[in-house]
């Protein structure tokens, strides 16, 4: 059935839903990540955006160069002590509502590098919604994390202000 026929059959009908559901549906299907590559995982993040796995299918192909235009921060790689304040500034510049995916073992826990130079898990400085294991995770893993996050955003609807 073409869209014109569909519209014709609907006529002047009204769709009823809750505002939370519509907003959640809209937000969940257009999560724009900040273009924030750190290390090895960033290469797999780029792979996720290319034709092979194609993150565009989930409405997240618009990697924004400015944190002010993005909803999602994918912490792709190891975060050094020197980078940590920068990462926090980028996170603070993102408008609410915002989400964080911690991509890979280094971002989640420090990975194999239990030493003086690395932050042992990015959740020490920003709240993380989804953790992805792997070093680096496959592009499919990142897509899976995005789908988990989408489910959560859709279920969340409108978050009341504290």
């Amino acid at each position: 059935m073409g869209i014109e026929e569909l519209v014709a059959s609907l006529g002047d009908n009204i769709l009823t839903t809750t505002l939370g559901k519509v907003v959640g549906w809209g937000r969940g299907n257009s999560v724009w990540p900040a273009q924030f590559g750190l290390a090895c995982c960033a290469i797999e993040m780029i792979s996720t955006a290319t034709a092979g796995v194609d993150i565009a299918r989930f409405g997240s192909e618009a990697f924004r160069a400015s944190p002010r235009q993005s909803d999602l921060m994918i912490v792709s790689g190891r975060v050094s002590q020197k980078m940590a304040p920068v990462l926090r500034v980028v996170y603070d510049q993102m408008p609410e509502p915002k989400w964080v995916i911690s991509m890979g073992a280094c971002a989640s826990t420090g990975g194999v590098f239990n030493n003086y130079a690395l932050l042992q898990g990015v959740d020490k400085i920003v709240p993380v919604d989804v953790y992805i294991p792997g070093c680096p995770p496959r592009p499919e893993d990142l897509l899976n994390a995005l789908m988990i996050l989408q489910e959560r955003i859709k279920a969340q609807g409108i978050i009341p202000l504290p």
């Binding site: 290390a39 090895c40 290319t50 050094s80 590098f113 030493n115």
Partner: protein
Amino acid sequence: MIKSPSPGVTVTRTGEQGAFGGELLTVNFGPHHPSTHGVLRLIVDLDGEQIKRVVPVIGYLHTGIEKQMEALRWQQGVVVTDRHDYLSPPINNLAYALAVERLMGVEVPPRAQVLRVIMSELTRLASHLVWMGTSGLELGAMSMLMYCFRERDTIMDMNEEISGFRMHTSYIRPGGVMADSTPRFLEMLDQFIRDMPGHIDEYEDLLTMNPIWRSRTIGIGRLTPEDAKVLGATGPMLRGSGVAWDLRKSIPYSGYENYDFEIAVSNDCDCYGRYLVRIKEMREAVKILRQALDKIPDGPVNVDDRKMLPPPREELETSMEAVIHHFKLFTEGYSVPPGDVYVAVESGRGENGCYIVSDGTHKPRRVKFRSASFVNLQALERMALNHMVADLIAIIGTADAVLGDVDR
């Protein structure tokens, strides 16, 4: 914690007078900037749009890899070498493995040597593909990313077939390689070698005569052969300045002297020259892969030394000695004779060296990586001087610094 500036681009006035009657402006470029190939931060002084000074600020990805290796046993260190230059893991493995083997006085079997060459050349291709895709993207040729990553994914599938992992394979280890190649890997490699020259033609169709690409790269980022040598540049940076220096030819390792290939050189001395060098290197890499596949010998892929590598699984059930060796290797590892050694290999970015010091125990006393990206970054100011600020993107792009390699 160290105080850091705003991560994007910030501008401050210096008070110095420029040549055009205006004031010099200091522009902070990065560390969070989409075009710096990672987390490079540059402090650029601008007169109008002309670059007068460039100071790279590094260390935003400092991982403490060299220190970490002192806490790991010799065979565990391989895993960490993967992660410093994350676009060419097997080549890093190779530098480390060759250094350890030289201290121990071990020679790996011929089949392992050929497999090492195959993995190195596949990685060189993958590294150049990532370079071409991202540099193309930054200079406006967005489709390059899609094409280049398509072939890179084929290489990643091959990595997965031979080692079980896409990027950080840890495939090349002291004493040989992780496992023998599977028949399917060799089939995939054969198909890849058939397809790749056509794909490289495709990239050339898109870029070599592309007027936008040419105007953004020709005459931009000039580096004279003398400067390149003085500043210690290696790899495509040096060869793009007309100096025919390739460690695979000048100090052959892993049997590279048995392959017939040419050193890719360009006398253009600019960004375009470095692009041509990389294209030529990709073609040469395919040539080497073909020769390696045709003459791959049969035989073992690891040294026959129970003190260095674990015995095969089936021996464990029949031999008490094998069980002891197995237990010793996985509890305390092997020890390397005291001494120090420096081994350098040619990675996609240049001379990738590994200097190790052993005090005779089962852990390294010191491991130092001579990373090509770090040294190549020195030439950045020489290349960028008096260019427009927009050209800085092309210059950083063709310098191909991997920040994991710079900061380690």
